[in-house]
Amino acid sequence: MPTATEAGLSDTQRQVVELAREFARERIEPFAAEWDRTSHFPRDVIDEMGKLGFFGMTTPEEYDGMGLDTVTYLLALEEVAAADAAIAVSMGIHNAIPTTMLVKHGTTEQRERWLKPMARGELLAGFALSEAEAGSDAASLAAQATKEKQGWVLNGAKAWATNAGTADLMMIMARTDQTGARRGAKGISTFIVPTDSPGYTACKPEDKMGLRASNTAAIELSDCRLPADALLGDGGMGFVYAMEGLDAGRLGIGAQGVGIARRALEHCIRYTAERRQFEKPLHDFQAVQFKLADMATRIEAARALAHRAAVRKDAGENVGMHASMAKLFASETAMWVTTQAIQLFGGYGYMRDFPVEKLFRDAKVTEIYEGTSEIQRLVIARALR
């Protein structure tokens, strides 16, 4: 059984992963199907994970985080994703994008006010880049931030933001260049926006194919007034910060894809041993064996790719290309493995009463969000030139 184990982990790292596995098995997995059916976002479970330290895993200890390495974080995230990818996405985004942004570019006051409670699991943070007209072409976003005497005023709309309606704060990308003097990607800045700010409205949650327990919604910004210190880092650097955050985020999607695929394989191993056709268990048929072997091999490869990129990241390398490779391969593995899983389950696989159908639906978005597979290929190809 290809569970998430890694040679050379310290006792501490192993304990962290064990804890994630135990928590996921006891507090998430038994309820995941119900949350999926009712589109219920279990904030209480998220808060419990936060209190245990899962929302500050890689945050340095000086900011109340655990200061853990990225491989350990990915292993823990994989365990959560194997139980419910909809919970993993909250953990993944919070740990990767807003956390990275504040660690790298926050002022002392911003870190004190936001990063520390985020690491302690007291505040849940999200990220809003996409807009209805700006998806893969993110730099064309139109939400506008205007400087005033007292601070900033944000206007515009964001699309498909995870936890838009459930987070305590969002990192929102908006233009700080002016009409008539547009500067493309260089005209974008990052704002720390508490979700109870006047003028911030999270719209009705989207009715999604998968990750149904996760809150995804559009955000309307209508004269959303923010203090001057809502601006993160330097004006005009927002797109760079977003890409840095996405490098970390994409490794997380890699772990999420591995988690989904692994759980699908685990179900298949059990099912093909039990299910008998033509007077023998399915796993006695070579066609089935080959499928299982391919699933297991791709999962191992996907995990190795993500962990390798994580090691590079912790060594301080620029991991843009490697993060894209990890995300691309793991998400396509998740989609392929869950497709095979439904095929192995046959008619049962198509039924909501069996777990692989949900895994299939959850897998699809990993090929889309935080950069589609096509964008990942572009990033990789550009890095090869």
Partner: protein
């Protein structure tokens, strides 16, 4: 208060146990070891008492076992225990319950204690002997299988409940005393990530039998009063029987006959 928890490391209940071919023991390869589940209730109750008692109260975990036992000790430390004593001596492999109890009792005595919590039994061999023997050796009262625990303000007495057939038995005891913990006593907490980080720096004292001033020939396997002669795997489950081609009345009759004469369950 000096609060002691007796902890045993056992194979995970989800582990498939295989008996060695020669019946001399179990295959230990690939076994995942965990804190015996009843001992988790003991850890939790100790931590709750520490939080309540406050002051300079400490929780010390005392465990006997080979090197791997440290992993479970660290988990208890990550849950919030303060320190641990690990009795690690190869002579204890194959020791009987009394031998293990002697080693633990001595370690507890050396450490000092005001109250002791243990699981009601280890889930590996289910002997349920060590806690009682430790209490006897320390000459203190013990109540096993407790489902409720309360302590008086001055910490001189404890009131505990045991579930008994059709009711509950409430027992008051003076302290120090030893309590064997039962499921339902509490909900053991998870070891948090900060807890795991802090556990690294907490002291784990390792002692062998000589260090405790005990004679391995008496306490260890050599002095054991109990010898396990042979380990036998559970018999494979037999295939079920299906009564076919009979009328309901006839089939019922046959079913009752089989349950009575073959299965001997009615």
């Amino acid at each position: 208060m000096k609060i002691i928890v007796i902890l045993k490391q056992v194979p995970d209940s989800e582990t498939k146990i295989k008996v060695k071919g020669d019946g001399s023991g179990i295959e230990t390869d690939g076994i995942k070891y965990v804190i015996s589940p009843y001992d988790e209730y003991a850890v939790e109750e100790a931590l709750k008492l520490k939080e309540k008692a406050g002051g300079d109260s400490t929780v010390t975990v005392v465990s006997a076992g080979p090197d791997r036992t440290v992993e479970s000790i660290r988990t208890a430390l990550a849950m919030g225990a303060d320190a641990a004593v690990h009795v690690n001596d190869p002579a204890l492999e194959g020791a009987d319950s009394l031998g293990v109890a002697r080693a633990l009792a001595k370690a507890i005595q050396d450490n000092g204690f005001d109250i002791i919590f243990a699981g009601k039994q280890g889930i590996d061999q289910d002997n349920s002997q060590v806690p009682s023997a430790v209490a006897e050796l320390l000459d203190i009262p013990q109540v096993n299988i407790i489902a409720k625990f309360e302590i008086t303000e001055d910490k001189s007495k404890a009131t505990v409940s045991r579930r008994i057939e059709g009711g509950e038995e409430t027992i008051e005891t003076s302290l120090p005393a030893l309590f064997g913990c039962e499921k339902g006593l509490n909900e053991p907490r998870y070891a948090s990530l900060p807890g795991i980080m802090k556990a690294k720096k907490k002291p784990v004292k390792t002692v062998d039998l000589a260090g405790l001033g005990l004679d391995a020939g008496e306490v260890g396997a050599a002095g054991s009063h109990v010898k396990i002669l042979k380990w036998i795997p559970l018999p494979e489950r037999q295939a079920g029987k299906i009564l076919q081609g009979m009328e309901t009345a006839e089939a019922s009759k046959e079913l009752v006959r089989l349950l009575r004469e073959e299965a001997k369950v009615i």
